[in-house]
């Protein structure tokens, strides 16, 4: 049972991995814990698969915690009572939207996308952001896994300095945490939506980040983002901005969602979860459940749209 897990608290990687196993055990036939690779320090990269069966189904990809210090994102991934993983598992057969999605599509959810960084934030440096790979010729460790994707790799908005927090790495997909996802999505071949969850500037963004040109699907992506942030705000009044990454926040090369979009995943988004203007990404644990609860309807909008607009 997952009943003893305190969702209003932050947890270590061992606790989260144990919880993932328990969730799968509690929902046999619906939830599976898959390993898609391993991190630089050989930790397993686990993905929760939500599926009601059938081969070759279209799928939705979700990830949290690619920047390890943004604990609110991993926590949002495991919170119940509306969000996200538990909600998906427990609302199947009850909630019409969740049921409709899972009757036709699979959902893959990587909750601890940067496990080495996450473990390091618990043991040594709470504010660690990058991976933990050693950089040849430098005493500085780690690569920004959200600048390491093969989408405008090495361009503006990423750094070639290994000591920078936005170091793009020696080459695209040099980080096993990144290549595992890229390989998985490409091998799957039928991923229709991808949402990468970050913290903390209250934004919902879509491609592009590495270039100023509008995405070919800009209008549809923009309209869907507007709907999603409206539904998010309806929960607690949290106001999000939305738009392309480059217009909304800054030019950033080598990001997850640009890579996904360039590789055929039309509904590609990145969230920046809530910021009260007081804590940054160090949100007190009391805000985990509200954050997750308000994120859920927006996420559901994106997933439903992907279901109802096949391509």
């Amino acid at each position: 049972s997952t009943g003893t897990f305190d969702f209003a608290s932050y947890h270590t990687i061992e606790e989260i991995y144990g919880w993932m196993e328990a969730l799968a055990a509690a929902h046999p036939g619906l939830v599976t814990r898959l390993q898609i690779g391993q991190s630089y320090e050989k930790r397993p990269l686990y993905v929760l698969k939500f599926s009601t069966g059938g081969a070759g189904r279209p799928a939705i990809w979700l990830d949290t915690g690619i920047h390890s210090r943004e604990w609110i994102t991993q926590a949002t991934g495991v919170v119940p009572s509306s969000p996200l993983a538990v909600q998906i598992a427990e609302e199947y057969g009850k909630d019409p939207a969740v049921t409709a999605i899972l009757d036709s599509m699979d959902i893959f959810f990587e909750i601890v996308t940067n496990p080495d960084g996450f473990a390091y934030t618990h043991s040594t440096n709470r504010l660690w952001r990058k991976t933990r790979s050693v950089n040849a010729g430098s005493s500085c460790v780690g690569v920004d896994p959200n600048r390491n994707w093969d989408a405008g790799f090495g361009g503006p908005g990423s750094s070639s300095n290994p000591c920078s927090e936005t170091y793009h790495g020696p080459y695209a997909h040099s980080e096993s945490e990144v290549s595992a996802i890229a390989d998985f999505i490409l091998r799957h071949g039928n991923v229709k939506a991808a949402v990468s969850i970050h913290s903390y500037s209250q934004m919902l963004m879509f491609p592009y980040g590495y270039k100023a040109a509008p995405a070919p699907d800009r209008r549809e992506l923009n309209d869907l983002a507007a709907e999603a942030v409206r539904d998010l705000a309806a929960v607690y009044g949290t106001e999000y901005t939305y738009g392309s990454i480059i217009d909304t926040i800054y030019q950033a090369a080598g990001t997850t969602v640009d890579w996904a979009y360039d590789n055929g995943v039309k509904f590609s988004y990145t969230f920046e979860l809530r910021d009260t203007g007081r804590y940054g990404f160090l949100l007190p644990a009391g805000q985990i459940v509200p954050t997750a609860r308000e994120t859920w309807p927006a996420l559901l909008d994106i997933m439903l749209h992907a279901l109802e607009h096949p391509y």
Binding site: D6, Y10, G277, G280, L282, P284
Partner: protein, 96 residues
């Protein structure tokens, strides 16, 4: 374990491109070890920077000297982290 006693997170707002460039320069000064939580992107958008205790005076003086408006978002990062750790420990005891 690395501690962040006395480190502050400042929220600065650059009024124009010139002030934005100054904030970027701040990040380039390796000895200050400024950690941008929200980077300098556009004028009038907040820029959040964690400043180690030992660099606080220099960074604040720099901002003031250049007329960059700022406020203190987090007074002491370590206090927040200690509170976080306490909450986690309490939660673990409750689970048992």
């Amino acid at each position: 374990e690395e501690l962040f006693v006395g480190d502050q997170v400042l929220r600065a707002v650059a009024g124009d491109e010139e002030q934005l460039a100054l904030l970027r320069d701040l990040g380039e000064q390796a000895e200050l070890q400024v950690d941008f939580w929200r980077g300098p992107t556009k004028p009038n958008l907040p820029v959040d920077l964690r400043v180690p205790f030992r660099s606080l005076q220099a960074v604040k003086s720099f901002l003031e000297a250049n007329g960059v408006a700022y406020s203190v978002m987090i007074e002491d990062v370590q206090e927040l982290l200690d509170e976080e750790k306490k909450t986690m420990a309490l939660s673990r005891r409750l689970e048992r």
